[in-house]
């Protein structure tokens, strides 16, 4: 039986959804124009006034926002409310070490948690469930989002956060966790650990909600089999709110976008033209209910397809495919955003030439990052301990900037493959898309 958190919204008619979008968009554009000077300036430069946007059909007239705007406007430039009205900050890694910070009013948190509650109920969650949240808590939106959603559903919420696998499994067995929320790679790791210890018959999981990184159908099957559950995908980004921007239902054929809060468009990433329905392109979101951080036409850089066909679950909101790639060079490794330019910055800061290559792979369903660095006379010494100390220094600097461990491999000068004279910076062996 399909369960809904807000059936009157989730299964509303298309006309109703469009009516909400039209009304909220018009109000929101005026609100942003009045309260975010940064965006007002962009509108003025484009010669657009709030009066030009009378419905969703006029959305294309508005200027885009990109990660570069978030960097320029850092930290408060895109915040539409005074600090006194905002109650929360969440953050995600950004380019060249500057983080993206997003703000929330209490109302924003409420709506975000509603979105996550919809995802939990779409995965079969009720107030009788024990929701085991193994997303990281803290600045990362994963923990906070699913935690809040679980409260809204009325489930018993286990705020485990990430790491300490022994304790995760112990609690799972002892407290009878029924819904697991974490990254797909951590779910795969937990599944392996549980089966290695022969504890599969002592866990009571029935479903999992996994997001924040790309995963394949094959990985889904592995996790479903390993844990004896149904695995649901969830999508989101800090800039727009966090997890729950869209989520999978029982059909498992794409993620329903919460269109009462976010208007989705697909554009050609090069020409920036809006593409007709069903075409593959870059996903763009416009937040129509947010107060503190109301981004309009934010370019996600995720490449995907929107599908409006009728869904067997009864929901009427548009479905997006799993992201099929990126329109920039961002990598998502262990759920963390990594830009090659960040690694370049570290190397240059340490006085090395930026001759490097990133090798991303997935070993036992867990991402690995290896940074190959071409040896230079500055790094070299006849003493191995001195060379390894410099190597360690690089590993620590990367851990500090990226938040994840990267293996550094020192390679011979000029050994990194170059195509047409340009070094190939990233080799992603994961084949996720």
């Amino acid at each position: 039986m399909e369960r809904y958190y807000q059936p009157e919204i989730e299964c509303a008619s298309r006309e109703q959804i469009l009516a909400w979008q039209n009304e909220r968009l018009v109000k929101q554009v005026q609100y942003v124009y009045d309260n975010v000077p940064y965006y007002r300036k962009k509108m003025e430069e484009k010669g657009v006034t709030p009066a030009d946007v009378q419905s969703v059909a006029d959305l294309h007239k508005l200027p885009f926002l990109t990660k570069a705007d978030l960097r320029d406007a850092y930290p408060y430039g895109l915040c539409a409310v005074p600090v006194s009205e905002a109650v929360r900050i969440q953050s995600t890694s950004g380019t060249t070490g500057r983080r993206v910070v997003a703000f929330y009013t209490q109302h924003d948190l409420d709506l975000w948690e509603d979105c996550c509650a919809r995802a939990i109920m779409a995965a079969g969650g009720t107030k009788d469930d024990v929701v085991h949240v193994s997303y990281g808590y803290g600045l990362f939106t994963g923990g906070a989002g699913l935690h809040g959603g679980s409260h809204k559903v009325g489930s018993l919420t286990l705020p485990m956060s990430s790491g300490n696998t022994d304790r995760q499994i112990q609690f799972m067995c002892d407290l009878g966790s029924t819904i697991l929320c974490c990254t797909p790679s951590y779910a795969a790791y937990l599944s392996e650990s549980i089966n290695e210890r022969g504890l599969k018959d002592q866990i009571h999981l029935k479903a999992g909600i996994f997001g924040a990184e790309a995963w394949t159908e094959e990985m889904r099957r592995d996790i479903e089999k390993g844990l004896g559950i149904k695995a649901y995908d969830i999508y989101g980004l800090t800039e727009i709110s966090g997890p729950g921007v869209s989520f999978e239902c029982s059909a498992q054929t794409g993620m329903h976008i919460n269109e009462d809060h976010f208007i989705a468009e697909i554009i050609d990433p090069v020409t920036e033209e809006v593409l007709p329905e069903g075409e593959k392109g870059e996903l763009v979101f416009t937040c129509i209910t947010k107060e503190a951080f109301p981004l309009l036409r934010y370019r996600t850089r995720d490449i995907c397809v929107l599908k409006r066909e009728k869904c067997s679950c009864g929901r009427t909101h548009v479905k997006m495919s799993k992201p099929m790639g990126r329109s920039d060079d961002m990598l998502i490794i262990k759920g963390v955003n990594v830009f090659p330019s960040q690694i370049e910055t570290i190397l240059l800061n340490k006085g090395y030439a930026a001759n490097y290559q990133l090798i991303v792979d997935r070993v036992n369903n867990s991402d690995t990052l290896e940074v190959q660095v071409e040896m230079t006379p500055e790094m070299f010494s006849d003493s191995v301990s001195e060379v390894t100390a410099k190597e360690k220094e690089l590993v620590n600097a990367m851990k500090a900037m990226l938040g994840i461990y990267a293996k550094v491999r020192l390679v011979a000068p000029k050994s990194i493959a170059r195509s047409e004279g340009k070094a190939v910076r990233v080799i992603d062996k994961r084949k996720l898309y």
Binding site: M375, F380, S381, D382, S383, V384, A412
Partner: protein, 145 residues
């Protein structure tokens, strides 16, 4: 009283060392002594050659990362206990040893060691005072005449 050691970065992969030694042989460079310190990813090859200036030019030309380090070469009697004697002298003289390796020359009754220490001046002082025979580049060349 030091001799020049050339240290070269070599990737820890099949065939890499052979590539390097081929370059030396093509350029008629003779190795007097060698050792390798290895990690899972790379090795540091340390060599002492007949003509270190020429070797350095050839190695640079071939695109290797390398460095030249002055090290100490010592002749010791080829009999049990003689290395220990020298190590004790260094220990008592508070000379810290980074690494060492041995090599042979066509001279009966003598063995040869290369010492890499933190402070060459201090080590030379301590060893000379205790009558240990240090070799310079000319001494080394004579051994192989």
């Amino acid at each position: 009283m030091t001799i020049n050691q050339i240290s070269v970065f070599i990737e820890n992969k099949p065939g890499k060392l052979a590539e390097f030694t081929d370059i030396l042989s093509k350029n008629n460079i003779d190795m007097r002594a060698m050792s390798i310190a290895e990690t899972p990813d790379f090795g540091v090859l340390r060599i002492i050659v007949n003509d270190s200036y020429n070797a350095a030019c050839v190695i640079r030309e071939a695109g290797y990362v390398f460095s030249i380090t002055p090290v100490l070469a010592v002749a010791i009697p080829d009999e049990p206990g003689s290395l220990g004697k020298i190590l004790n002298i260094m220990g008592q003289g508070d000379v810290n040893l980074e690494y060492l390796y041995a090599f042979t020359a066509p001279k009966k009754d003598w063995a040869y060691m290369v010492f890499r220490v933190q402070d060459n001046e201090k080590a030379i002082d301590v060893l000379s005072k205790n009558g240990v025979k240090l070799l310079n580049q000319a001494d080394l060349d004579q051994l192989f005449d």
